[in-house]
C-alpha cells in the first residue's frame, strides 16, 4: 500500500498526534464528568478541591432516582424482548417473503430512524392522548418500541440474508419440522444478529429522552427524563454521579457485545 503506516516516516508522529487529539476531544467530556462525580465541590468546581463518594451516597439514598432507574430498566427490558421478537418475525417476512410491496414495507419499517424524533414524539403524544396511554408503562413501551424496532429489523434481516437457507432446508430433510429447524438451526445461526438487535433495542430505549419527556408523568419518569428535569432546577454533582453510572453501564454493554462477537469468531 502506498499510504502504509510503516512507510510514512516522520509523518507518523503527526498522525499519532492528530489521533490523540481526536481521541481526547471525544473522551474528555466523559472523563470530566466522571472526575466531577467524585469531586467534593458542590458547585462542580474543576479541578476538584477534594474527593468524595458523597454524591453517589445521595444518589442511592434517593428513592426517586432509584425509581427512575428501575423504570428505565423495566421499560428497556420489555422493549428489548418485544423488539427482538417482532423484529425476527418481520425480518423473516421481509427477507424470505415473496409479495408485492415488500421493499415499500421494508422502507416503512425503517422510517422511525429517519423521521425527526420530535415529530415522532408529538405524533405519538397526540395519538396516545385518545387512547389514554400517556404517562403509562404501556405507552412508554409502545413509544420506545417504535424507535427500537428499526434497529432490530436491520440487524436480524442482515443476519438472515447472510445465513444460507439451504442449511435450514438440510435440517428439514434430516427430519426436523420447519419450526424445529428454525429454532434449532436458523436461530443459533443468526444469534449474533439477534444479540446486536437486543443490545441496540435496549440502548435505543435506555437513553431515549425526547419521546420520554412527552410520555412521562410525575410518578413515571425514566432516568434521562429525571436528569433533564433535575438539571433545570439546579446543577447538583448528583447529576455527574448518575451520568457516570449511565456511562459505566453503557460501556459494560458494549464491552459485552465486543466479547461475544470475538467469541463467535474464534
Amino acid at each position: 500500500m502506498l499510504l502504509d503506516f510503516s512507510r510514512l516516516g516522520p509523518w507518523r508522529l503527526v498522525l499519532v498526534l492528530i489521533a490523540l487529539l481526536v481521541g481526547a476531544y471525544l473522551l474528555l467530556p466523559i472523563l470530566l464528568i466522571v472526575g466531577l462525580s467524585f469531586g467534593s465541590s458542590r458547585w462542580l468546581q474543576f479541578p476538584p478541591p477534594g474527593w468524595t463518594l458523597r454524591w453517589y451516597r445521595e444518589l442511592f439514598d434517593d428513592p426517586a432516582w432509584i425509581a427512575s432507574f428501575l423504570t428505565s430498566f423495566r421499560i428497556a427490558a420489555v422493549v428489548t424482548v418485544l423488539s427482538v421478537v417482532i423484529g425476527l418475525m418481520a425480518s423473516f417476512g421481509l427477507t424470505r417473503g415473496e409479495f408485492r410491496g415488500r421493499e415499500l414495507l421494508r422502507a416503512l419499517f425503517l422510517t422511525p430512524m429517519i423521521l425527526p424524533v420530535v415529530v415522532l414524539a408529538v405524533a405519538l403524544y397526540a395519538f396516545f392522548l385518545r387512547l389514554h396511554l400517556n404517562g403509562t408503562f404501556t405507552g412508554f413501551v409502545l413509544a420506545h418500541l417504535v424507535v427500537a424496532l428499526p434497529f432490530s429489523i436491520i440487524a436480524i434481516s442482515n443476519a438472515l440474508e447472510r445465513f444460507d437457507r439451504d442449511i435450514e432446508t438440510a435440517a428439514i430433510v434430516c427430519g426436523a419440522s420447519p419450526l424445529e429447524a428454525k429454532l434449532r438451526v436458523t436461530l443459533p445461526g443468526i444469534r449474533l444478529g439477534l444479540m446486536s438487535a437486543a443490545l441496540f433495542s435496549f440502548l435505543a430505549s435506555w437513553d431515549e429522552v425526547v419521546i420520554a419527556i412527552f410520555m412521562a408523568s410525575p410518578d413515571l419518569q425514566t432516568l434521562p427524563v429525571r436528569i433533564f428535569s433535575t438539571l433545570r432546577q439546579d446543577l447538583s454533582p448528583v447529576i455527574a454521579a448518575v451520568s457516570t453510572v449511565l456511562i459505566a453501564l453503557t460501556a459494560g454493554l458494549m464491552a459485552l457485545a465486543a466479547l461475544l462477537r470475538k467469541d463467535a469468531r474464534s
Binding site: 432446508t169 438440510a170 427430519g175 426436523a176 443459533p188
Partner: protein
C-alpha cells in the same frame, strides 16, 4: 412387481415455463442413478420434487409402491447432500451427524453408537469434536454424507455435491462415494452436469434436456448408442458433419456429403424423407487415418490435416474436409508411425461399421 422408486409422468411448471415435462423413470433398490444434463435441463427440479421442496404440477412419485407426494420433506425419511456446504455451523461434527437422530428422539446410547459408525464410514473418526468452520470443503461434504446416512434412509439424494471442490479432491471423493454405495447398499440419485462424473459413478444415467429425459441407460449405452443428437453431443466428444439423405430403408439410410460423395447404409435415429438434411456423427477416437485415394483405400471421407497436438497418451488431430467441414481425431500415441502425420497432408478418414450414426435434422 413394483419397482423401488417410481417416477410417473411428473411435470413442473413455474408460471408458463415448464421446468420438467412428463418425466417417467423406474429405479431399482440399491441402484446408483445419475441425472445428467446442462443447467436448466430440469434434473435438479426433478430431484427437488422427490425431496419434497416442490410439488409436481402433474404426475406421481412412488417409493416402495406408496405415493410420497402428500408427505412433507421432513417425513419422507430421505437423505440429501447439497451442492453448498450445509453443515449446521454452531454444532460440532458429531452433533451434526447426531442431529437427525436427536430429532427422531432416539436413545442417547444408540445415537452415540451410530455417530461413531457413520464417522468411520466416511473416514473422519478423529474429527468428532471439530467445528464445521475448521474443516476443508471435502471434509465438510463427507460429514454431510454421514449426516444424510445416519438415519438409514432408503434413498439418498445428492445435488451436485462435489461441484465446489477442485478436480483432484473430486476424484478422491468419487471413489469414497462408490465405496459407501457398495458398503451401505443405499439407493442413490445423483445430480451432476459433469458427464465424466456421471459415467464413472453410476449404474445408469438419465440424460436431461429441456425438462425431458433424452435417454436412460448405462453410461456405455449412452456413449455407444446415443439415441438423439443431443445425447451424442453431450456424452463424450463427437464430430458432426452436415449431409443429405439419399435413400432410406428401415433403420438405415444412404447419405450424400456436400462434395457429392455417397456413403451407404448408415444407422439413422428416425425416419426421414429422401432429400432431408441430417447430421453424420463419428467419435474422434473411432476415426482412422490412412493414405488417400488408391484402389485399396477404405470407404470414408477425404480431408486435409490442419493441426496435430501431442498430449501424452493421445495425439489430437484437427482436419478439414474439402467443403470446409471440421473433424477431430484422437489416436493413442503408440499406434502412430514414428514420422506421424504432417500438417497439410491429404488423408482418408475411415471407421468400422456401426461407429458412424445419422441423426435426422
Amino acid at each position: 412387481m413394483t419397482c423401488f422408486l417410481d417416477i410417473r409422468g411428473i411435470t413442473k411448471s413455474f408460471g408458463k415455463v415448464a421446468a420438467v415435462s412428463d418425466v417417467s423413470l423406474e429405479i431399482a433398490r440399491g441402484e446408483f442413478m445419475t441425472f445428467l444434463g446442462p443447467s436448466g435441463s430440469g434434473k435438479s427440479t426433478t430431484l427437488y420434487m422427490i425431496a419434497g421442496f416442490f410439488d409436481p404440477s402433474a404426475g406421481d412419485i412412488r417409493l416402495e409402491g406408496r405415493s410420497i407426494l402428500r408427505e412433507p420433506s421432513n417425513r419422507r425419511n430421505i437423505g440429501m447432500v447439497f451442492q453448498r456446504y450445509t453443515l449446521f455451523p454452531h454444532l460440532s461434527v458429531a452433533e451434526n451427524v447426531a442431529f437427525p437422530l436427536r430429532v427422531r428422539r432416539r436413545p442417547a446410547a444408540e445415537i452415540a453408537r451410530k455417530v461413531e459408525q457413520m464417522l468411520a464410514l466416511v473416514r473422519l473418526e478423529g474429527f468428532a469434536d471439530r467445528m464445521p468452520a475448521q474443516l476443508s470443503g471435502g471434509q465438510q461434504q463427507r460429514v454431510a454424507l454421514a449426516r444424510a446416512l445416519a438415519y438409514d434412509p432408503p434413498l439418498l439424494l445428492m445435488d451436485e455435491p462435489l461441484s465446489a471442490l477442485d478436480k483432484k479432491l473430486r476424484e478422491e471423493i468419487q471413489v469414497e462415494i462408490r465405496r459407501i454405495h457398495r458398503e451401505t447398499g443405499v439407493t442413490i440419485l445423483y445430480v451432476t452436469h459433469d458427464q465424466e462424473e456421471a459415467l464413472s459413478l453410476s449404474d445408469r444415467v438419465a440424460l436431461f434436456n429441456h425438462g425431458r429425459i433424452e435417454q436412460v441407460g448405462k453410461g456405455r449405452d449412452l456413449y455407444e448408442a446415443p439415441r438423439t443428437r443431443f445425447v451424442a453431443g453431450f456424452v463424450g466428444h463427437s464430430n458432426f458433419l452436415d449431409c443429405t439423405i439419399a435413400a432410406h430403408a428401415g433403420e438405415r439410410a444412404d447419405i450424400v456429403l456436400p462434395d457429392g460423395s455417397r456413403l451407404p447404409e448408415l444407422p439413422i435415429d428416425r425416419q426421414a424423407p429422401v432429400g432431408a438434411a441430417a447430421r453424420l456423427m463419428i467419435r474422434p477416437d473411432r476415426l482412422r487415418i490412412s493414405s488417400p485415394a488408391g484402389a485399396d483405400a477404405p470407404a470414408g471421407i477425404d480431408a486435409v490435416l490442419s493441426d496435430a497436438t501431442f498430449i501424452g497418451e493421445t495425439f489430437h488431430f484437427a482436419l478439414t474436409t474439402a467443403w470446409g467441414g471440421a473433424l477431430n481425431v484422437r489416436m493413442p500415441s503408440h499406434t502412430l508411425p514414428p514420422a506421424g502425420h504432417g500438417v497439410g497432408q491429404r488423408v482418408r478418414l475411415s471407421w468400422a461399421p456401426g461407429d458412424a450414426r445419422l441423426f435426422a435434422e
